[in-house]
């Protein structure tokens, strides 16, 4: 029996066990099971976990088209992605890579084709997962971003209140307070890491608020998120299996603790808040989610990663972009009312999540290529957002770009980003607060980028800030 089938057998059993055994103990049990399996089963029955060693990526012109592999997790880090995707868009916009470390996959690289795939959930399923590699064995999380309608709709509706307009109005002043405090405390006169001091800090505080997570331990949240997106077989990172299971158990123990506490409050007739867990507990479809461990973990991971990397890297990306296009910085200072439009342009220019994956549900001919039932299809938003056919001067960062909102970074169709308005609001507020305080933010040296197929992000960007003279 293949291990994935074994896991399918075990998941319902673990759901039954959930009511009796604490979730973190179940995760520890699964960890032990996976470790034992790796020890005792012959290699041919085991899923190969890829190891990625960085080597210089060749210029795309030196490769045959079929050898182009955009799943290389160093493509962003080495800044080769623009030339690679441009060649695919021009020569082979729906491209097949037959033997990547994640198995064979199709790349859809033009704007119009991406919109087609994203809209057609009847042809392209989001199941079993939206990353290039499958979930790690033993942690096959279930989350609505990777479910098709109608189950997707049920679960999304249950949680979307957390980022719904009613909540956003409340959150605006909270975010502004945090943004002001963070910016007032950056080390003026020193060269410092903008990623750590500003981008991570603001998004972490936001997440702690959304999860009603203890504020003094908030740094656990981005740490957990980075572990998830660092899983090699899923995203192309470097996190090892033991660390992953330990962190999963820790996160689940803490989050189920918060769940049980709020459940008791609810049972005692006390009012619940507008944080994520309170909303899940208030909805009939999700109030027992804790009895379904992989769904519980999945929803937590989805909102954690969704609220973390995306906004974090757009905050950093905006500063980076304005340094590469200094005339735009001047334009912004002359007319701060351009901020909302610039926010959309930052999200396009950065495209913090590079793609979403789908699985063809039937044979589909797309731009002349025949995609077979069951094939893996990646919609490369990062490429569509630079598609010359749809966007004028796509590599230019233009803060007053016309139709800047028409970017792909939030996806389109039923899985469109639920947190888009919250993300835009956070970016708008941080830039409003930046312009009140700083004349200039100068990027010092080259930023360090993340190793990933999925997250197009920064690990470090050193800056000097110049306060406005009073």
């Amino acid at each position: 029996m293949k291990s994935t089938n074994l896991n399918k057998l075990i998941t319902p059993l673990s759901n039954k066990a959930a009511k009796l055994i604490p979730l973190d103990k179940q995760i520890r049990g699964m960890h032990l099971y996976q470790k034992t399996k790796r020890k005792v089963l012959p290699e041919r029955y085991l899923r190969k976990i890829p190891t990625f060693v960085e080597a210089p990526i060749p210029d795309v012109e030196t490769l045959a088209i079929e050898d182009i592999d955009v799943s290389n997790p160093f493509l962003f880090k080495q800044n080769k992605w623009q030339s690679y995707f441009k060649r695919l868009r021009d020569e082979c916009p729906v491209h097949y890579q037959a033997s990547s470390p994640f198995g064979p996959f199709w790349s859809v690289t033009r704007y119009e084709d991406i919109v087609f795939v994203d809209k057609h959930h009847d042809l392209f399923s989001a199941e079993p997962i939206i990353s290039i590699g499958d979930s790690p064995d033993g942690l096959e999380i279930e989350t609505f971003i990777a479910m098709d309608p109608p189950k997707h709709d049920e679960q999304r509706i249950a949680v979307q209140g957390v980022v719904a307009p009613k909540n956003l109005k409340e959150l605006e002043s909270v975010i502004r307070g945090h943004a002001a405090e963070i910016l007032d405390n950056v080390p003026v006169g020193e060269t410092f890491n903008w990623v750590e001091h500003v981008s991570v800090e603001l998004t972490t505080r936001m997440l702690a608020t959304l999860f009603d997570y203890p504020f003094d331990r908030r740094h656990k949240l981005p740490y957990w998120s980075d572990i998830v997106t660092g899983i090699p077989e899923t995203f192309g990172g470097t996190v090892d299996s033991d660390l992953m299971f330990n962190v999963a158990a820790e996160a689940v123990r803490e989050m189920s603790g918060i769940w049980r506490r709020k459940e008791a409050q609810k049972a005692a007739g006390e009012p619940l808040g507008y944080d994520l867990i309170s909303l899940l507990l208030s909805n009939d479809n999700t109030k027992d989610m804790i009895d379904r461990p992989m769904e519980f973990l999945g929803n937590f991971v989805l909102l954690l990663v969704g609220g973390n990397d995306t906004t974090r890297n757009s905050i950093t990306g905006g500063v980076h972009a304005l340094n590469q296009f200094p005339d735009e910085f001047k334009k912004l200072k002359r007319d701060p009312s351009l901020i909302p439009n610039m926010v959309s342009e930052i999200i396009r220019w950065q495209t913090p999540l590079a793609y979403m994956r789908r699985m063809a549900k039937e044979e589909v001919v797309l731009n002349g290529q025949t995609i077979k039932k069951g094939d893996k299809v990646l919609m490369w938003y990062v490429s569509g957002n630079r598609d010359e056919r749809r966007i004028e001067q796509p590599d230019q960062f233009i803060i007053d770009r016309k139709n800047a909102r028409n970017h792909l970074s939030f996806g389109f169709g039923t899985h469109r980003c639920m947190g888009n308005r919250l993300a835009e609001m956070q970016l708008r507020i941080i830039w409003e607060e930046i312009l009140k305080r700083f004349e200039h933010i100068e990027v010092v040296g080259e930023p360090e980028l993340v190793q990933s197929t999925f997250v197009k992000g920064y690990s470090k960007m050193m800056v000097n800030v110049t306060p406005i003279a009073h």
């Binding site: 809209k119 209140g161 719904a164 307009p165 009613k166 139709n403 909102r405 389109f412 039923t414 308005r421």
Partner: protein
């Protein structure tokens, strides 16, 4: 030429010319009506040109197909007479139509 009235959530009215043949979303965008985002540019793929029609006008705007229903289902402000403006193709019969905008597009 006829006209269409868009009413923002805060009550601000915008009377604009009805250019039959264009989508309702395009008419709103061409006239700079605030409160219509149209993030996907008219592909029925984002749900950010959500409008709420006065009940008597709703039957005039044609059938709501599954794609549109799906996108509308995701907005917390969905009403009985909700439409995506990009999917409403205007005709001269829509002269005088009143279109209300939700508090937020999302």
């Amino acid at each position: 030429m006829g006209h269409i009235t868009f009413i923002e959530y805060d009550g601000t009215q915008h009377d604009v010319d009805l250019e039959a043949g264009k989508s309702l979303m395009q008419i709103a965008m061409d006239n700079g009506v605030p409160g219509v985002d149209a993030d996907c540019g008219g592909e029925c793929a984002c749900g950010t040109c959500h409008v709420i029609l006065e009940a008597n006008w709703f039957p005039e705007t044609g059938e709501v197909v599954d794609d549109e229903k799906q996108m509308l289902a995701m907005t917390p402000e969905q009403a009985e007479t909700s439409r995506l403006a990009c999917q409403v193709h205007t005709t001269n019969e829509m002269d005088g139509m009143v279109v209300r905008l939700p508090e937020f597009q999302m």
